[in-house]
């Protein structure tokens, strides 16, 4: 048993080393394994070529930010990672996105399975018109967990994980619509945490919130990255600079630059990145 574990660890270490080597070759300094990797990924809305030759790697236990002016494809890209973008009927894609060694477009991986592992938090808080408890327990129930005891524990753990347990523990049966916007968004995060995803995608999670709620969500993200990998789209550059480890700058459907956040904001290589982060357009 112990031997097996050691073996696993050494395999993991090896894997980490290989990715590190690869990354050093490609010029990006990385410290851990990748969770998502887009390879020559293209996407069209009908005739509109919205994403062009995207090559990006996202790492474990990091917060990766995607920034760029509106219409640059950043939301489209993050929704491609859990294949939510396909809900738009005219979308078609080319190229690959690899999630932990598995192509997400491969038939062997169902979209339901992918979305179970890759959770999502949306731009506007979108709780279900149900009680707080039922909101958080929803995913577990959908995935066949019915025991009250287990559900109770999942709900408490997830609400604690989303730093909202103390605010709602006395009214778990109240409708989630009665909460403030910031609280609703944290319920949505709790709801996503409840099925213990591997990656959490966040599509402008604070754009509909006031500054105080935004701070709370940002603090929460810092805690969450200990256990989860987070990819966040934001139009707020200060936010990207504050919270993320890596930042990718999207412009007109291309990735212009992808690097450590510090580099992107302090010493960008591309002129367009510099113009954007210094507020000259966007």
């Amino acid at each position: 048993m112990a031997e097996l574990k050691m073996k696993e660890e050494s395999v993991m270490n090896e894997a980490v080393r290989t990715t590190e080597q690869q990354n050093q070759e490609s010029g990006i300094v990385q410290s851990s394994r990748s969770v998502f990797e887009a390879k020559d990924f293209n996407l069209w809305y009908g005739d509109n070529h919205a994403l062009q030759n995207i090559n990006l790697t996202f790492n474990e236990n990091e917060i990766s930010a995607i920034i760029g002016p509106s219409g640059c494809g950043k939301s489209t890209f993050i929704k491609s990672l859990n294949r939510m973008v396909e809900l738009v009927p005219v979308v078609h894609t080319e190229g690959d996105i690899v999630y932990r060694d598995q192509n997400i477009f491969d038939k062997s991986l169902t979209v339901e399975e992918l979305r179970t592992k890759v959770g999502m938090v949306f731009q506007k808080p979108n709780p279900f018109p149900k009680s707080i408890y039922d909101n958080v327990a929803y995913g577990a129930r959908v995935h066949g967990i019915r025991k009250k005891k287990v559900l109770d524990e999942i709900v408490e753990k997830s609400l604690r994980g989303a730093a909202i347990w103390d605010e709602v523990k006395d009214r778990l049966n109240a409708n989630a619509y009665g909460l403030s916007g910031g609280q609703q968004q944290r319920i949505c995060i709790a709801r996503a945490l409840a099925i213990e995803p591997d990656v959490i995608l966040m599509d402008e999670p604070t754009s509909a919130l006031d500054p105080i709620s935004t701070t709370k969500i940002e603090d929460l993200m810092q805690q969450l990255k200990e256990k989860y990998s987070i990819i966040v789209v934001t139009h707020n550059m200060q936010q990207a600079a504050r919270i993320s480890d890596k930042t990718a700058f999207f412009y007109q459907g291309y990735v212009v630059e992808h690097d450590d956040t510090k580099v992107i904001f302090e010493n960008p290589k591309d002129k367009r990145t510099e113009d954007y982060v210094s507020g000259r357009f966007g």
Binding site: N82, M84, L87, P89, V111, E112, E113, L114, R115, T116, K117, G119, M120, F122, K124, N126, P127, F128, P129, K130, Y138, G139, R141, V142, H143, Y177, C188, R191, A192, I195
Partner: protein, 292 residues
């Protein structure tokens, strides 16, 4: 040179303003017509029927002698009728609405189904009666039973419930749907656990309003041949029955003046039932209307 003669403008303004007031009053009167008719109808009916609204009236069967005629059989019959119409209409309509909103591909066939449903909504009820008479009463040999009439009315009110349900389903915001899909819920899980519960108040309102139309519907029952005098209540859905609007229609045609009072009393009962159903519908609508 001045193109606009300012004196002229201000001189004509008084007339224009008066005309505006006048038309406003006229439009208000148009709006009041409905109210006046409603009040007249109710007062007239209550004056005629109130004295005949006795316990005996409620508990007696129909009779050719006005003094002993009652509405018991008709009330029980109408309840039986709704017991068939409601479940059939609900299953057909909600199923159709879910298919059209959630599953139907955007193609010619779907478009045809939608146009067809709005045309069905415009088919006169008496034509539905002919359908029921030919298919249910004769070809399926159901006779003038609760089942034959119930199925006919179910088909008749189906388009109304479909449209109401479609609107209710469409009112569920896409963001909620995304949230469920984004957690790995399947299509049907999202539909059955999120969308349907959220749309239920709107759907129920539509169902109640449609059923209140069905319960007062007379023409298809006449065509199907629902009897006007019967001294038993049905024991099964394959028995024949009486119905409230049929009873009223029968009485209003009677030459004896005494029957006119029974007609009014019967109408009071029918309107009370409708009023009750509508109140429930309005209550549900107001209670749940502002949720998103």
């Amino acid at each position: 040179m001045q193109l606009v003669d300012k004196d002229q403008v201000s001189k004509s303004l008084g007339g224009r303003l008066f005309f505006n007031k006048f038309m406003k009053v006229l439009f208000l009167l148009c709006t009041m017509v409905g109210l006046v008719v409603l009040v007249t109808l109710i007062v007239d009916t209550v004056l005629d029927g109130w004295d005949h609204l006795t316990w005996d009236f409620l508990t007696s069967f129909s009779s050719s002698r006005p003094e002993s005629a009652g509405i018991y059989g008709a009330i029980i019959g109408s309840i039986w009728l709704m017991a068939v119409t409601a479940p059939v209409a609900i299953i057909l309509s909600v199923g159709t609405a879910l298919y059209l909103e959630e599953y139907a591909p955007k193609n010619k066939i779907t478009n045809f189904i939608t146009v067809n449903i709005s045309n069905l909504a415009g088919v006169p009820s008496v034509v539905f009666g002919l359908l029921g008479l030919t298919i249910f009463v004769r070809q399926l040999s159901l006779g003038n039973s609760v089942m034959a009439a119930g199925l006919t009315l179910a088909l008749m009110i189906m388009p109304v419930i479909v449209v109401a349900s479609q609107e209710a389903i469409r009112a569920v915001p896409g963001s909620v749907r995304e949230a469920s899909t984004g957690m790995g819920a399947t299509k049907w899980q999202t539909v059955s656990r999120i969308i349907l519960p959220a749309a239920i108040p709107g759907i129920i309102t539509g169902i109640i309003l449609a059923l209140s139309r069905a319960i007062g519907e007379t023409a298809p029952l006449v065509v199907i041949g629902v009897p006007v005098s019967l001294l038993v209540t049905p024991n099964s859905v394959f028995d024949t029955f009486q119905a409230l609007p049929m009873q009223i229609y029968n009485w209003v045609k009677m030459p004896q003046e005494e029957f006119q009072y029974l007609t009014a009393a019967g109408i009071i009962i029918l309107l009370l039932i409708l009023f009750l159903m509508n109140s429930v519908a309005i209550f549900i609508r107001n209670k749940y209307s502002k949720r998103f």
